[in-house]
Symmetry: C2
Subunit: 311 residues, 2 copies
């Protein structure tokens, strides 16, 4: 799977993933009102609004980007209808040729992780039939419970050619509370990085286009550039998913250390900065009606910012 992502990054020349994390107040009022007119001010109405919003965003950006990353929490907050919108978004993005990274941050004891893996990247057996319930291409995984929480995801990746990004050093301000604590001089996130190498060795992508990267990548926040540089060196086989660009404070020039010498090895996520670009002063001329064009303009600006930084 990582070879497919890398090929898409090379084709678009954009190591960029658009975070489809729709809060209702990012959705232009004309979309919300139409959805509420159709479904009422209900969970179904909210779900319809975010789905229509997402479809517009995908249509306006799919030719520029390799991947999207829907954050499932933003759908889960609207219950079953919200999760139905998540599933529609995954399917539609794939139909447009995008790699879909489900940002689900799951992780549990063995059999339970197995159920999550089955539901999100695998197939579940029902009698004589089998189904791919959510069917993302890649997902994020929380490592706090250790190897037997991660191994079931790896098993499913190997069976269905899917990929993972393990949380190593997250972008949020308090990520250091546990992740940065020193164990014999080594921060916990580097212990996780060591395990990412081990997990990656068990989950290779044999295609030449994988450029040596495995199907087990890592999440490292844009807000910690020095750690990004160090982790890039420590995890030579792990593609890095980099959240925290834009709204959380990360900028292109901070990100060069996350990439390898070939300008590969990382993909940078922006959510609010793109999907809510129409609400920012610099893209205000697009207006509410031009929200998708504003998102396209923001993607082009981000591509330029990162391209300039990478030289």
């Amino acid at each position: 799977m990582i070879s497919k992502l890398i090929a898409a990054i090379k084709k678009t020349n954009a190591p960029i993933v658009v975070g489809l994390d729709p809060m209702l107040d990012y959705v232009p009022s004309f979309i919300r009102e139409a959805a509420f007119a159709e479904c009422g001010e209900t969970l179904e109405g909210a779900a319809e609004a975010i789905w229509v919003f997402n479809k517009g965003l995908i249509d306006a950006t799919y030719d520029l980007i390799p991947a999207v990353k829907p954050q499932i929490a933003m759908y889960e907050q609207f219950g079953i209808p919200g999760l139905t919108a998540y599933k529609k978004t995954v399917d539609y993005a794939k139909s447009r040729g995008l790699v879909v990274i489900g940002d689900i941050k799951r992780g549990d004891i063995g059999s339970t992780s197995g159920a999550y893996a089955t539901g999100h990247i695998g197939r579940v057996q029902v009698g004589s039939q089998s189904y791919a319930p959510f069917d993302a291409d890649m997902i994020t995984v929380n490592p706090y419970m250790g190897s037997d929480a991660v191994n079931p995801f790896i098993k499913v990746c190997n069976e269905f050619d899917k990929g993972l990004f393990i949380l190593v050093k997250t972008s949020n301000p308090s990520s250091g509370e546990f992740q940065d604590r020193l164990v014999d001089g080594t921060p916990v996130y580097e212990l996780v990085a060591d395990m990412v190498n081990k997990w990656g060795a068990a989950c290779p992508d044999p295609a030449p286009e994988a450029c040596g990267y495995t199907n087990v990548g890592a999440v490292v926040g844009a807000t910690y550039p020095e750690m990004g540089k160090r982790l890039r060196e420590l995890m030579p086989g792990a593609f890095i998913l980099v959240p925290g660009y834009g709204a959380q404070g990360g900028k292109g020039k901070d990100l060069t250390g996350f990439f390898d010498d070939n300008g590969l090895g990382a993909i940078v996520n922006s959510s609010r900065g793109i999907i809510a670009a129409w609400k920012k002063a610099e893209y205000a001329s697009f207006g509410e009606g031009g929200y998708a064009d504003a998102a396209r303009a923001a993607v082009l600006d981000m591509r330029e910012d990162i391209g300039r930084a990478l030289g």
Copy 2:
């Protein structure tokens, strides 16, 4: 909320939570076949089977126990229909007077944790209306991302009188890979325990029935009794949710250290050992048709085992 759980434990004299973690092969064939006859061998058919199975389990045990803990992964593996069965299970268990602990192990950066909290224990605003999408009483939370991943859950708990169990020391064999690592001589799980105390102070339950416990509890595996004893002392305000009894190896006599001097302070989960009791040799006489009665017998045996241990 913890006062409500404690009152229910005292009333039933059973510090026991039944884990509603239905794998399809735990479901007796007559239920599966009826569901497939109605809905086909589809995700809907699987969801119908686990819902009917759960309803039977709840009906057979609700008068003996204070709480149930549906593991959402087991529902998520069946996609949207599975999650609909999760929601029906939560609602039905509450209608039977049970406290519902949603075992969701979520955790993410601030706004994203906020969305999970809203969806699972809070209310979401849609225009002029608001809804409680999943509406569990308590949920499990993963602390790896630190305070700003946990605080949004606390905010929602305070607003709607709900409760949390933070993963501190999990029951699985590899939980020690990160959780046991020593930071200046202190294991990571004790650092998490310190934060549980802090989070609990910000999330009190003022009712006298809370007996000093807060709405922020902790998950500590039955498989690590020595650590349970130590963590009981370190977190005097945290009720402990204890997974790993039965199928994972924990026994009543191992669990006394998890409880306080009043025999309170912990609630022990059993999943497979109860819901799949009918498949075990000792309850085989109940037969498939008596799966719910087998579960009731297993609850009674577990209550006796723990009661004997606590004296």
